[in-house]
Assembly symmetry: C2
Homo-oligomer: 280 residues x 2
């Protein structure tokens, strides 16, 4: 990282997030095609916190990207939850940096699922595309989990299904209800990824958002803010890991928690005990 | 804390949160009246992260609670953002514990505003009442900031204003769209706190939610989970404070951030530098 990092900062990162089954992989695949047609080299990172596997391109959904796996202009990497001691989001950030340093024009960052770690991964993107499908009932959990805040563009995929207009209307309503001041209103693009429909307008929307960020100066501001959060995140993640382990479920933590719940010690003493006991 | 803590665990904590101007203080005042009529002693903690002041009862909105300030069965405490080196949420948790140990039957925890620290404070409650007002446009930012997830009961206050039914319908729609499985559906109670209207049904809803938590065994489960988060929070807050100061804006952090942004160092090295440099 120390040697690679000086060569980073040039790739433009586009995040794709949304519930499982929304068709993100196919959509990303379509956009890879469009970007390649423009002559750009690019990297694709597919993050699935629910998968234990980390490795190459031949993994579950990735099979759909087979048409690009033999293209030397496209590098595809899947990342699961295992083997990233520093946390999945920092690991994804590093993978992104490697592709950036390799001279890729774009890095596509696809995250499966809608939990906190996916949001953290999505936070690495310059432009975030939230992929939803008709039938907002299934997706609204996504929206409420904070995805509304991070969406720069909405893609309503599988737009050949009934209920598409209802979902678009629901999204418009949610945007209307949002009273925060904004300089960019997220466009809603209807796509049918399997038929490559709507993907050209979607790719155009990404370009437009990028222009908006560059012209307004927001891009460098956002990147600096993100870097600050990333550094603080690395530090607190390391410390949290040192103290409670990868989750709060370590036996040592449970023992101390039991003591507090049973009122044999208090939370501050418990915290000090955990801090003192770590191996530094 | 060490000596007080064994006496805690008996008070029932009710959180009140929502945007400024929703009438939370008046509503809390009404419920204090109802709880006192049932013979219960109680504590009220009013947290305002935007206020620099911490202290007694005579503070801004607190004046509305004057009718209870001379009642020895009610203890009122305002907390602002200053003077809580461990963070506002942990400080509020300690104040709640003190009132709990004092033998109060209830602790009412009122939080002003809708930011992250308010959510953390609301997280201390057994039952959380989200107070909104007609004209959801003003309040929906609240809902999207994660308050939907924490609401056990909705109070639509100032329900004598126009648009009340629209707001209630909007809330019902948001609840309907929420596909997560739940054992408790948050009731929506219309109130006019200034006229003491709807406050008896609201207080009954609090009792009903409490019974639900107790009968289902969720109360002790929730409290244990909360305690785990509280301990981890104390530790990470201490560490974060040691490293980057109360905010990320310390000159030392900015200098290191500049180095990263200008690619003179990398995020991992920057994190280590921050960790090594702290005064332990």
């Amino acid at each position: 990282m120390r040697e690679l990092f000086p060569w980073t900062g040039n790739a433009y990162t586009v995040g794709f997030t949304g519930p499982p089954g929304a068709g993100k992989s196919t959509l990303v695949d379509d956009l890879v095609q469009l970007a390649r047609a423009e002559g750009d080299r690019l990297g694709v990172i597919a993050v699935d916190p629910n998968s234990p596997f980390t490795g190459g391109a031949i993994l579950g959904d990735r099979i759909r990207m087979m048409r690009h796996t033999v293209d030397p202009g496209v590098f595809i990497r899947s990342m699961g939850s295992r083997g990233h001691l520093g946390g999945l989001a920092p690991a994804a950030a590093q993978a992104r940096d490697v592709l950036d340093a390799m001279g890729m024009s774009y890095v596509f960052l696809e995250t499966v699922g809608v939990g906190q770690s996916e949001l953290e991964v999505a936070e690495l993107a310059d432009t975030t595309v939230v992929v939803l499908t008709p039938g907002l009932g299934d997706s609204v959990q996504t929206i409420k989990a904070g995805i509304m805040e991070i969406a720069d563009i909405f893609a309503v995929n599988k737009a050949d299904q009934p209920d598409t207009e209802r979902t678009v209307a629901d999204l418009k309503e949610l945007l209307r209800l949002d009273s925060r001041p904004r300089s960019w209103t997220p466009p809603i693009v209807k796509t049918v990824a399997t038929a490559e429909e709507g993907t050209t307008p979607l790719w155009a929307a990404v370009h437009e958002h990028r222009r908006h960020l560059e012209v307004s100066g927001e891009l460098s501001h956002r990147r600096r803010e993100r870097m600050a959060r990333r550094i603080v995140e690395i530090v607190t993640h390391r410390v949290r890991h040192e103290i409670v382990g990868p989750s709060a479920e370590t036996p040592r933590f449970q023992t101390i928690l039991d003591e507090v719940v049973e009122r044999r010690t208090d939370p501050l003493t418990a915290a000090s005990k955990l801090q003192e006991g770590r191996s530094r």
